[in-house]
């Protein structure tokens, strides 16, 4: 099953603001820890390893180029 990268958020700007707002007043370290928890929560919701692997690969793309 392919990872959905077409627009799928029902309220993109609301989500974007909520994401930034969730990090309000946190130190960078605390924010990184939050992000890790968020990834795990969302990954479990998605569930399928093949979809998750595609997302991981897309996120990784470009990370190794200087």
């Amino acid at each position: 099953m392919p990872l959905v990268t077409e627009p799928n958020l029902d309220a993109p700007d609301d989500f974007y603001e909520a994401l930034i707002d969730t990090h309000r007043d946190l130190s960078p370290e605390a924010s990184h820890a939050l992000n890790a928890r968020l990834i795990l929560l969302l990954a479990n919701h998605i569930g399928r390893l093949d979809v998750l692997r595609q997302a991981l690969a897309l996120a990784r793309a470009g990370a190794d180029t200087p």
Binding site: H32, A33, A36, R37, I39, L40, L41, N44
Partner: protein, 553 residues
């Protein structure tokens, strides 16, 4: 007269020194030839030697030392290992001595995160695990070995030189009285993680060393912890590190404290540095029952043994090199989380003995030994994967790895999905040998887990009015397990045919585990792995499957 080692105490066993005895081989005019020489009298070498001797082979077992293990070392012995040891005649003695357990609890900081049950079903003769100090296991195996007249153990015999020439292995062996030479048709190296034989042959075991250290201690104390495996992440009594607690026989507890890479092993092993850690653990346990404990109300304890270890996950590329085979830690090393070291080594021995026996008798070609290597390399990879993953979780090696590990632990308090991801060790289960060349792929549809390559699941049976267990009823060689009335030709097959019916299986464990219907037959190997199964086999199919499982086709 029962061998005294069966009932010796831990102290007696650890004090035992076996005598060097000069062998007539050392005075022979020409080097004496042995069919098989096993090197290393640890749990794996002893199990292999006993199995081969039970099959009628003349076995020489060499050990470069004269003593058994000091300290508890490998303590968790899995159900499959116990089933192998039943076949070797020592299972009951070890189960009687050992502490049974099947429940594990995982704690994070002050709270329990979750618990798991390794044998949630009944209908098995043996428990999920027993805990028993390695020296008890070795003593029992040596006692059993001494009952077998065709098994000879030579202590203080060190293999110092090895060369393969044609159809023989030449060995140079050092003893207190100098060197002598032997010849062997086959040599099996069960000589541990540093494997002198592997080094003599210029071979490597490759993988990854983990930059961490653990202190392991045997502590004799009166403590009312239950017989459960307890694992702590970041407990208040050992902040930022992990701790593992196991009950052993004789009121001795095994405690593993993670120390970190920068710890100095010599400093950490000192009793004055271990005692406070144990006291902190006991204080925390007392406090969790309520109230602040008085210092002198804590149970007293005695430190029996301590060691600091590091660990690696690695294996040899191939476990077979001509007439030299490798088994146990000599072939593969794992981190201890999950108890996959000694347990997989004993399964190596279980896999090898019947194959080597057939090859020595000329009943199968040497290619059968290649299947030992392929099957056990596959199993080692499974063990390496599991133990590496556990190690990464318990001792994260990068900032980001630790970040995700801590995120998982934080979420695990509230959420079941995260508890499932917490990895304090995936406990040893025997590998299903999928893709083995010895398996006959299924043609018929079956439910359940007993596919070709699977280790046969046990089940309670009632046969001729007595209660028994499936694994006790299998032959030492191949067995055809049949359900329902069988055609006449089956009873004339050159192997043990076990014909069972519903009256033998009153609680239906067998028929459910094996998805049995009238006419179903399972071909089981000498090591009790399934290699073929059918709904209504034709004679040609059974003969073909048997030949395939023996590398004869």
């Amino acid at each position: 007269m029962r061998d005294p080692l069966y009932s010796a105490t831990g102290a007696e066993i650890q004090a035992t020194a076996f005598a060097y005895r000069r062998s007539p081989d050392q005075d022979a005019a020409v080097p004496v030839r042995h069919p098989v020489v096993v090197v290393g009298a640890g749990p794996v070498g002893l199990s292999l030697a006993i199995d081969l001797a039970q099959r009628g082979q003349r076995v020489l077992l060499l050990d470069n030392d004269c003593k058994l293990s000091t300290g508890s070392r490998a303590i968790c012995f899995a159900k499959r290992t116990l089933e192998v040891w039943d076949r070797l005649g020592v299972g009951q003695a070890l189960v009687d001595k050992g502490v049974r357990w099947h429940v594990g609890k995982v704690f994070f900081r002050e709270e329990q995160l979750y618990q798991f049950d390794l044998l949630p079903e009944t209908g098995h003769e043996r428990p999920a695990f027993i805990n028993l100090q390695q020296y008890y296991v070795e003593a029992c195996l040596v006692a059993r070995a001494r009952e077998l007249p065709n098994l000879e153990i030579r202590w203080h015999n060190t293999v110092a030189a090895l060369a393969q020439e044609g159809d023989v292995v030449r060995l140079g062996i050092d003893t207190p009285e100098g060197r002598y030479e032997l010849r062997a048709d086959h040599v099996v190296a069960c000589d541990g993680s540093r494997s002198p034989i592997r080094q003599l042959m210029g071979l490597e075991s490759k993988g990854r060393v983990f930059k961490d250290r653990f202190l392991i201690a045997d502590v004799r104390m009166q403590a009312d912890f239950p017989a459960e495996r307890w694992f702590w992440f970041d407990p208040p009594f050992h902040p930022g590190q992990s701790v593992l607690l196991h009950m052993q026989p004789d009121g001795v507890w095994r405690i593993d404290f993670q120390l970190g890479w920068d710890a100095d092993p010599e400093v950490e092993k000192r009793p004055e540095n271990i005692v406070p850690r144990v006291q902190a653990l006991l204080r925390a346990a007392a406090a969790s029952k309520g109230g602040e404990p008085q210092p002198d109300s804590l149970p007293g304890f005695e430190l029996e043994w301590a060691s600091v270890y590091t660990f690696a996950c690695l294996r040899m590329d191939s476990f077979r090199h001509g007439r030299v085979l490798f088994a146990g830690d000599a072939a593969h090393g794992v981190s201890p989380f999950g108890a996959r070291g000694a347990n997989s080594g004993v399964q190596d021995a279980d896999n090898l003995a019947w194959k080597l026996d057939r090859v020595l008798r000329g009943q199968s070609p040497g290619a059968l030994l290649d299947s030992y290597a392929r099957e056990r390399e596959y199993a080692a990879d499974e063990n390496l994967l599991n133990s590496t993953r556990a190690t990464d979780f318990i001792t994260p090696k990068s900032e980001i790895s630790r970040l995700f590990r801590d995120a998982t632990l934080a979420l695990a308090r509230e959420h079941g999905f995260a508890r499932r991801m917490v990895n304090s060790g995936r406990l040893s289960v025997p590998a299903t040998l999928d893709n083995s060349p010895l398996n006959t792929p299924d043609r018929d549809a079956f439910m359940g887990l007993m596919r070709p390559g699977a280790p046969a699941a046990d089940a309670p049976l009632r046969i001729d009015g007595r209660d028994t267990w499936l694994l006790r009823e299998l032959g030492p060689d191949f067995t055809l397990l049949c359900w329902g009335p069988v055609p006449h030709w089956m009873l004339e097959l050159p192997l043990k045919v076990l014909v069972l019916e519903p009256a033998n299986d009153p609680e239906e464990w067998l028929s459910r585990r094996y998805d049995l219907r009238p006419g179903t037959a399972y071909l089981l190997r000498p090591d009790q792995h399934v290699c073929a199964r059918w709904r209504h086999p034709a004679p040609e199919a059974v003969h073909a499957a048997l030949a395939r499982a023996c590398a004869l086709h």
